[in-house]
């Protein structure tokens, strides 16, 4: 499912993905294991969340940006 709504806010799937990154930076595979979502959806969702500015990627690991941290508070 899409992770970001047309209004720019994370969907429920997006929120689950963001919350999985609360403690640690994770790879897409690790997010899939943690959330139980299929890997293809996680990859697609992380791309949307990155484009929306909620996560950033460094060397294949995804972590929350300040916007990402604020939205899951």
């Amino acid at each position: 499912m899409p992770c970001v709504s047309p209004d720019g806010k994370p969907t429920s799937t997006g929120m689950t993905t963001l919350k999985s990154l609360k403690a640690d930076a994770l790879t897409a595979e690790e997010v899939a294991n943690k959330t139980g979502h299929p890997l293809f959806r996680v990859r697609s969702g992380l791309r949307e969340l990155k484009n929306a500015g909620f996560v950033e990627e460094t060397a294949g690991k995804y972590s929350l940006t300040q916007s990402g941290e604020e939205i899951i508070r």
Partner: protein
């Protein structure tokens, strides 16, 4: 190698599947999102049509079996996302079947043309019933084309997945009408010496070029 004509490209077995980015009922997806999993990419002529509806119900019914085999499903037609959503909601409401996999909305035919899914002898605008079985390295391993009037056989699609995965795991081939649990074909020998040795290796051989063996229970 790819065959190309005015309808686009016609991929062939063994080549890397062409990558794409496309809108689907589950967000924008790329072929590369499926790296590491098997993928069945299949096209149907149009939403809200009878044979396609029976196929989508049938694909949904084997989805759990496919996922146990690390296989995902991805549908495609040249309808819009809105049409796809309306159709799958209708299927759920009227037939009680939830469509769990994404469907590409290929309105501009970008993906259809890359995969040779439009066959003018069948329809100049709709995709025929294609099935592409793509392995975790994005290599096309099986291509099936069905005409507009013939719905696909899910048991055969599952059988092909089992055969391909068995071939990869055990480096064997599978005979006609093979099903999991049945003997598999040992690759034919490449030299006369191997042909001689073949007959002493405990396989069940009709002759030196046709030997089968049983696989360990999985």
């Amino acid at each position: 190698m790819t065959e190309e004509n005015s309808q686009g490209t016609f991929p062939v077995l063994g080549q890397k599947a062409p990558d794409f980015e496309a809108p689907t009922t589950q967000g924008t997806l790329r072929l590369s999102d499926y790296k590491g999993t098997w993928l069945i990419l299949f096209s149907h002529p149009a939403d809200f049509t009878p044979v396609c509806t029976t196929e989508f119900i049938a694909f949904s019914q084997i989805y759990a079996d496919l996922r146990k085999r690390n296989v995902e499903l991805l549908g495609l037609s040249v309808d819009s996302v809105t049409s796809h959503i309306a159709w799958i909601r209708n299927v759920e409401e009227k037939m009680g079947v939830k469509i769990p996999f994404p469907i590409i909305a290929d309105l501009n035919k970008d993906v259809s043309k890359k995969f040779g899914m439009i066959h003018p002898g069948q329809s100049k605008t709709e995709t025929v019933r294609c099935v592409f079985i793509i392995d975790p390295e994005s290599t096309i391993r099986t291509i099936l084309y069905y005409p507009l009037t013939t719905g696909r056989n899910m048991a055969e699609i599952l059988r092909i997945v089992d055969a391909l995965q068995t071939t990869d795991k055990y480096k064997v081939a599978t005979p006609a009408n093979w099903k999991p649990g049945e003997p598999v074909v040992v690759p034919p020998p490449g030299t006369t010496e191997q042909a001689e040795e073949r007959l002493k290796e405990g396989y069940e051989c009709k002759d030196w070029y046709l030997c089968t063996k049983k696989l360990p229970p999985s």
